[in-house]
Symmetry: C2
Subunit: 360 residues, 2 copies
DNA sequence: GTGAAAGCGCTAACAA
DNA sequence: TTGTTAGCGCTTTCAC
């Protein structure tokens, strides 16, 4: 016990000399300034309790010595942090998800929104089958909460996370009996606008490419159905092809339709990537877009305008989406009232859906 | 002083009861297990010092209560962390950079490589004009080092960071008098392969699209020059157009050439994005790729194969790149010997460079 | 306006 | 094999 005290005493005799190669810390700045660490701490956090002259002197000292407050220690003491985890679940087999340009733009938008609000962004890849692991991001204090991009078919797992009180916001569709918070775009209207546009440009046999089992896609499909119904066009189930995001699936979808000799003159693809691949597959079969088939995509990724033909599509509000996700998470963490949010979508007309010559 | 002691005594009487809403901590698990925190700590870190039965009991307790060790506290105590910062500098005006599909894929690759090695990834956007700020990421203990994607024209700033001993690895070109470490692909060979391929497919008047002032592009340009020289084709400076990555610049490049009536039958674009936009611009002017003009891009982004015509390009080894960047940074942090690395590039032949009919 | 000292949650040296 | 205790770098109460 006495020994212990002695050790402590030694320690407290403030003679830390910034050894070269050693990281600067507050005590070093304090020594340099001839004040205590308390004063340095106050000066650096712009406390009004500290003399102006002292403050500027300390600030200058800190800057010239490249000193930055140790965030970890600060967080520990303050019992909070300013880091948000962004999770892009990935399929162990494909690792495909992060590469969809839409998710990527969302990542950029989130990075901006978080930076804007003074938060750090921890980017995590998590196995889609082990989504329960995202709880650890918060439980371990790595992040104050989690923004998850890619709802996929993980509704139940997400509900469970929310039930476990993990601060979580998901980009995706609002679903019935959902205990987690979502931010997403108006997929039903999006699907409706896309289909309606194809109908209005003279298409009648409109195929739907996408897996309606996925919440967002399901809602786009809902919009597709509504548009058909509204125009008195019967739904032909054979025109609905559950193409996934993965490579080759658009090609197979097109092949399947053509092999079965199912006639179609329009395609509403549930993502731009899918649409582009479909156009390629159609071309291989000698079908020209938009002459033979009108195509509308979804997302309005950057390349859509440079594609040939340029792609008619539904624009999702990415910038607003990132902001909304961040705001929702911060509200959730602050225990504020909070409801899921649905952002507007918009039809962007380009070449791929140009009207076909009126049928004879 | 006595009061102080008393407070401490109170504190040490271990009666922390996991209040609902309070975060679980090690003491709680210790109480539950009827052991000390030391034992819990040891059990959770798989120390051999702890009884097997005790270990499994504690592990079970921790899991069932969703307890995760507080990483911040642990890092503080251990004096290290397992977080790496990945920085994508951005231009305040355009915010363009993160959206280039190549950088994005690199991000994915880095996320994988870091996850693989058990590191967290902190994604930071930093104003390209304030690159000195990246030093803070390390100085503040947020990250053990920085991986920077996008060398651009910041050679001097990067050198200065390295001189300040900031652990830093950059994706880019190896340059003369460089004190920071780079990992990049073999741009000279890439440029050479691309140009040579165009020559071998019958093109003679080959334009170069890209800003040779940027280190990587400069090296691709170097390869372009070498290929021309090797085939005895004179360099025509009017064919070199400093198109940037930004929107519209490819179109202007094409327009400029056509307006000045500068004849060309090939384009080597320094990125796939640039190539795609150039193809669009050419088409608008009635020029067909590859019939009238052969085009080769750079990067081999995912969409290149779906583009029409599918894009001949130079593939950069993204997966290897991510791994190499991570390995380099970890070596740097561990003070291991380290040199910049140049990865191989590869020509991928597709439609956009199909041989033109032999000139009459 | 400034300093002394305690403690955030954890690990490890030392004691038992 | 387990427990006690100090302290990682910081902020803040309390005392002056």
């Amino acid at each position: 016990m006495p020994r212990t005290h002695k050790r402590k005493r030694f320690k407290k005799v403030v003679t830390r000399i910034p050894v070269s190669g050693q990281r600067m810390q507050m005590q070093d700045i304090a020594n340099l300034a001839g004040v205590s660490t308390s004063t340095v701490s106050r000066a650096l956090s712009h406390s009004s309790l500290v003399n102006d002259e002292t403050r500027t002197r300390i600030a200058e000292l800190a800057r010239s010595h490249n000193y930055s407050i140790n965030i970890g220690a600060r967080n520990l003491r303050l019992q909070h942090s300013r880091t948000v985890a962004v999770v892009v679940p990935y399929d162990v087999r494909t690792r495909q998800h992060i590469s969809d340009p839409f998710f990527v733009s969302m990542l950029g938008s989130l990075a901006d929104a978080l930076t804007e609000q003074g938060y750090d962004m921890l980017l995590s890849r998590v196995d889609a089958e082990r989504l329960d692991l995202v709880a650890q991001l918060e439980a371990s204090g790595r992040a104050i909460g989690v923004i998850l991009i890619g709802q996929w078919h993980h509704h139940d797992q997400l509900n469970e996370l929310a039930n476990r009180k993990v601060p979580l916001v998901v980009w995706g569709a609002r679903l019935p009996r959902q205990t987690y918070c979502t931010v997403g775009s108006d997929n039903i209207t999006g699907g409706l606008l896309a289909t309606q546009h194809l109908i209005e440009t003279g298409r009648r046999r409109i195929a739907f490419f996408g897996d309606p089992e996925l919440p967002e896609i399901g809602q786009r499909y809902e919009g597709y159905q509504r548009a058909l119904k509204h125009h008195g066009i019967p739904l032909d189930a054979r025109l609905v092809v559950a193409a996934e995001f993965s490579e080759g699936s658009s090609r197979r979808a097109v092949d399947a339709l053509l092999e079965k000799k199912i006639v179609f003159d329009g395609v509403f693809a549930s993502s731009d990537l899918l649409a582009m691949r479909a156009i390629g597959a159609l071309r291989e079969k000698g079908l020209i877009v938009p002459r033979d088939v009108g195509v509308v995509g979804y997302d309005d990724i950057e390349l859509s305008q440079y594609f040939h033909p340029s792609l008619t599509t539904i624009r999702q509000p990415i910038l607003k989406g990132g902001e909304a996700l961040v705001n929702a998470l911060l509200a959730l963490v602050a225990n504020k009232a909070l409801s899921s949010e649905v952002l507007p979508t918009e039809l962007v007309v380009r070449e791929s859906s140009a009207p076909s010559p009126a049928p004879p």
